[in-house]
């Protein structure tokens, strides 16, 4: 249409293929969150207090009491990847909350009226959450080192930890954004966030091996995505062979893809 061509701003826009544009938008969203992360590092550090308490108090107490028998016998080493998984979840579950916050403000609406594809926005936020989770990885590795937790560290294992952490962060952020689109209000999201993270945590292998669980809980733990995260991290961090890493990473990648699709589909509900 001639009038549209004259009015269209296309002339000044970067020439990009649809895939390039998609990835470009993802990159912008991630960068946006990175700027915010660096403007307020206190926020992300304050989220490290809780995992620190778990390791320092719960871990020490349970370790000394020998209350839970685990293979190898070193409870603190067993607990460390569990607490890492927990803090990844806690950091990522806020992704949905900030989406609701932005919707209430009007910022989300404005973003969605630009040429960005909805799923670029969701994927960007998922990756941004991965980034926050990496800060948690760093903090917990430092803490564990200070506590002289016996960990197996090698470049390959570190790379695996980074990947696992990112996958976990993406998945829980995607899940949280999907839930946000259903519950719509901040108050409900806060409630649901707590309602979900606790059972996910307790019904996983984060605190105790699944072997000591009753049958029904074992079933829950097996279908719980957090178990895959804990399992993968634990293999990388403390076990000599980490052959379970690949299936765990794959399972989380599939969960993340599913979360991306569901959250993208559910998004319009947030606006109505």
């Amino acid at each position: 249409m001639s009038n549209a061509a004259a009015a269209s701003p296309a002339a000044s826009v970067k020439p990009m293929s649809p895939i390039q544009r998609y990835l470009w938008h993802v990159l912008i969203i991630v960068r946006w969150e990175t700027i915010k992360l660096f403007k307020d590092p206190a926020e992300i550090l304050s989220r490290s207090v809780q995992p620190a308490l778990w390791l320092l108090i719960f871990g020490q107490a349970m370790g000394h009491a020998h209350a839970i028998s685990i293979p190898g016998g070193d409870y603190l080493a067993f607990l460390t990847p569990g607490i890492l998984a927990q803090s990844i979840t806690f950091v990522s579950i806020f992704a949905g909350l900030s989406v609701i916050w932005e919707k209430d403000m009007g910022l989300l609406q404005k973003i969605l009226t630009t040429p960005i594809h909805r799923s670029s926005l969701v994927l960007g936020r998922m990756l941004a959450s991965s980034q926050r989770s990496l800060v948690q990885l760093l903090v917990i590795l430092l803490l564990a080192t200070l506590l002289r937790v016996h960990m197996l560290i090698s470049p390959a294992r570190l790379a695996g930890l980074v990947l696992m952490t990112m996958l976990g962060g993406s998945f829980f952020a995607g899940m949280s954004m999907g839930i946000a689109a259903l519950v719509k209000t901040r108050e409900r999201m806060m409630g649901i966030g707590q309602l979900i993270t606790m059972p996910l945590f307790f019904a996983s292998s984060a605190l105790y091996p699944t072997d000591i669980m009753p049958g029904w809980l074992k079933v829950l733990a097996t279908i719980n995505p957090m178990s895959y995260l804990v399992d993968g991290l634990r293999g990388l961090l403390i076990y000599p062979d980490f052959d379970r890493f690949a299936p765990d990473a794959l399972a989380l990648a599939c969960c993340s893809a599913l979360a991306l699709i569901v959250a993208t589909k559910a998004y319009p509900r947030l606006l109505s």
Binding site: N3, A7, P9, A10, W32, L107, Q109, K110, T113, T114
Partner: protein
């Protein structure tokens, strides 16, 4: 020569369950026009604009914006419009510059072009000095101007403003009007704005549509609307009341009130 049509609505309808928020609107806005959608809370103005920017799916009818079909060419529509929502749409943690930069990037403007346009836009909206301050430190009027800046970086054909001056003090409101007028007169951008102030509509808009209960109750210039209502030269507010119904609207929800109070608090 016939003026090009920039916005075209045909039987546009939106239902929320049993409630018809917008009930079969027909409307055309020509290129370069500043068109006002007027109405009380809950009249359907914001719903109409939200459909036109692609945030809500129409229940029936169709619309074209900048020559593109809303239903089938949504990406092209979004590339050709600027939208200033009713509620605040800036990131308070970021600086004014960064807020503009991100929206320019979302519109895929090359870095080189952005480096020219951001200072240009900041200058145009009198925000140069505040450019590198976090937006959280801005006044209400400054935030509103920055929001306009975000929506014009990519030189859109059409800008839609949802109640651009709600919550602003009279002085900021006047300055906002000047900026909006400049967009239309200097930049030749087609504007569609909603408002519940008759004086604002008359000040800025050539033609006005007064909406009531999801339909257009009156359409024309302020003078035409007065004549049609059988009260030429009457007080603007009386004309508005004539078209939009005398009683207090019973369909503006408590949510609307909450939202506008919250907004006023943030802007103040």
């Amino acid at each position: 020569m016939r003026k090009e049509t920039m916005i075209e609505l045909n039987g546009l309808t939106k239902h929320f369950g049993p409630i018809k928020a917008v009930d079969g609107i027909d409307l055309t806005v020509a290129k370069g026009e500043c068109f006002g959608l007027l109405g009380r809370n809950g009249a359907g103005k914001s719903t109409t604009i939200k459909m036109l920017v692609g945030l809500l799916q129409p229940s029936a009818g169709w619309a074209k914006v900048a020559g593109f079909d809303l239903a089938t060419q949504s990406a092209q529509v979004r590339a050709s419009i600027g939208y200033v929502p009713q509620s605040l749409s800036v990131d308070g943690v970021l600086t004014g510059w960064q807020n503009l930069e991100i929206f320019g990037q979302l519109h895929c403007l090359p870095a080189k072009l952005l480096k020219e346009r951001i200072p240009e836009t900041l200058a145009m909206l009198d925000l140069e000095e505040a450019a590198h301050r976090p937006v959280a430190t801005y006044s209400g009027g400054m935030v509103r101007r920055l929001e306009i800046g975000q929506s014009i970086l990519h030189r859109p054909a059409v800008i839609m403003l949802d109640e651009p001056t709600v919550g602003l003090d009279p002085v900021s409101r006047r300055s906002m009007w000047d900026h909006i007028r400049r967009l239309q007169q200097k930049e030749k951008i087609t504007l569609l704005l909603t408002t519940h102030y008759m004086d604002e509509a008359e000040e800025l808009c050539g033609r006005i549509a007064i909406m009531s209960k999801g339909v257009i109750a009156g359409l024309g210039t302020a003078a035409q609307l007065g004549r049609k209502a059988g009260m030429p030269g009457a007080d603007l507010d009386k004309i508005f009341a004539h078209y939009s119904g005398h009683q207090e609207a019973d369909h503006g929800s408590i949510k609307d009130v909450q939202r506008s109070r919250r907004l006023a608090r943030r802007l103040g």
